[in-house]
């Protein structure tokens, strides 16, 4: 496998989106603080993207569960059926960056954690957008589908397999600034990781296989069957 590629993504805060998201107009007594946090975050947040080209060696089955093997690493999950017939995949990690992880909010307004969450979401969105462009520029995949451990219901592709996914990058994965807890929680929290791939035969969206009817981030309606 080739070495992973690491990209720093320029971060530009969308002020209107920020103000709308935090209901800035109601914060008559905390507007200065909300802007101060934005200024700090704009200097410290450092979105990054890491990706690597990889090839599936074998498609297997464990009972009814599809398995793919990449070198010594194996992934198991119903979602992997979307990779049937696929050979080339692009494992990736994209993050808002770790620049605000040690920033102490305790002296700030009680809503400051939410303001920061919005700023980190913006940084991740820009990393995600850059990831798509890079996938096209570097690998010629214009309409990349994405599979992510932990996205969708638990049996779709268990979140624990993020550990194996990170192994695909080797020790270089530390350079992206995302660490995995023992319970497979990505830190910083505004980080995503998964496999990009092209498959004209399927139209996979992990969100479609998650039962949370009222999820505010739902992109497509729930589908009971993969």
């Amino acid at each position: 496998m080739k070495s992973p590629l690491l990209f720093d993504i320029p971060f530009q805060i969308d002020m209107n989106r920020y103000k709308q998201a935090i209901r800035y107009e109601y914060l008559d007594d905390a507007r200065n603080e909300a802007i101060l946090l934005l200024e700090i975050a704009s200097k410290r947040l450092n979105p990054k993207v890491m990706l690597i080209e990889a090839f599936i060696d074998r498609h297997l089955n464990d009972g009814n569960v599809p398995v793919i093997a990449i070198g010594d690493i194996r992934f198991h999950g119903k979602a992997l059926r979307a990779l049937d017939g696929v050979h080339r995949i692009i494992p990736y990690i994209a993050t808002c960056g770790d620049g605000m992880e040690d920033f102490d909010l305790s002296a700030m307004d009680m809503l400051a954690p939410y303001w920061l969450d919005e700023l980190k979401s913006q940084a991740l969105d820009q990393a995600r957008k850059a990831l798509r462009s890079l996938c096209n520029e570097l690998f010629g995949i214009r309409r990349a589908l994405s599979l992510n451990p932990g996205s969708g219901n638990v049996d779709i592709w268990p979140i624990e397999e993020l550990q194996e996914l990170f192994c695909l990058f080797g020790p270089d994965h530390r350079k992206v600034g995302v660490s995995l807890s023992q319970r497979s929680l990505m830190i910083p929290n505004k980080s995503i990781a998964g496999l990009l791939f092209a498959n004209s035969e399927v139209d996979y969206e992990s969100c479609a296989h998650c039962e949370r009817a009222n999820c505010p981030n739902r992109r497509v309606p729930f589908k009971a069957r993969l």
Partner: protein
């Protein structure tokens, strides 16, 4: 004369500065702190909860309303303590061991406070024993556990078992919530109440506490 309805509306729309001014004015006029709490702040948060459940408003509106309520409570709290106004119940709240998510948990805490409950928020990555220690220390009615990962929600079962081992099972109601948690999961681990959102959680907690006090 301060209009408590206007105070409630200021709170619902998140105008913290106005809430501070109106609460102080109401106190200065001699309106009892408990009346300001019940008729303006708690009733205002009730209305916010209903609108949230009906998708008329969303998380950011709830947050600014909770912040405005907090501004009013900072002024009212010392008076409520002085006059011996009792909390409607006590909830020990936290995100379970191994999990660092707190946005949803904090929202639950704010909405429970909006029901007049005392909320002891233990934060994130809370060790099982800590839930028990704090429940005993505060003579809590409820332990409410949050988890956002399938890998951490199993910790809730440890909390249920620890409550049993501490002989608190008949005294403490265990509530669970978080993205991967379901009614079936709640039943499988022997917890008492699952709620899918913050507004339902606060209503369920309020019901548990008021029924316990009536009994």
């Amino acid at each position: 004369m301060v209009d408590l309805k206007a105070l409630s509306e200021a709170m619902q729309s998140g105008r913290a500065k106005d809430v501070r001014v109106l609460v102080q004015a109401a106190i200065d006029e001699g309106i009892p702190a408990s009346r300001i709490l019940d008729e303006a702040l708690l009733s205002g948060m009730d209305a916010v909860g209903v609108k949230f459940k009906n998708n008329e408003i969303f998380v950011p509106e709830v947050l600014v309303a909770a912040r405005a309520m907090n501004a009013g409570m900072e002024i009212l709290q010392p008076l409520l303590v002085q006059t011996g106004v009792q909390s409607k119940g006590t909830v020990i709240l936290g995100t379970v061991k191994g999990d660092l998510h707190d946005i949803g948990k904090n929202l639950v805490g704010m909405m429970m406070k909006g029901k007049g409950l005392s909320v002891i928020d233990l934060g994130t990555d809370v060790q099982t024993d800590r839930f028990i220690e704090e429940a005993i220390k505060h003579d809590a009615d409820i332990i409410a556990c949050s988890a956002l990962l399938t890998t951490t929600m199993r910790e809730m079962e440890h909390v249920v078992n620890a409550v049993k081992e501490a002989n608190l099972r008949n005294r403490v109601t265990i509530m669970v919530g978080g993205a991967p948690v379901t009614e079936a999961f709640k039943s499988s681990i022997g917890a008492d109440i699952y709620t899918p959102d913050a507004a339902s959680a606060s209503e369920a907690a309020y019901k548990v506490c008021t029924e316990r006090r009536k009994a």
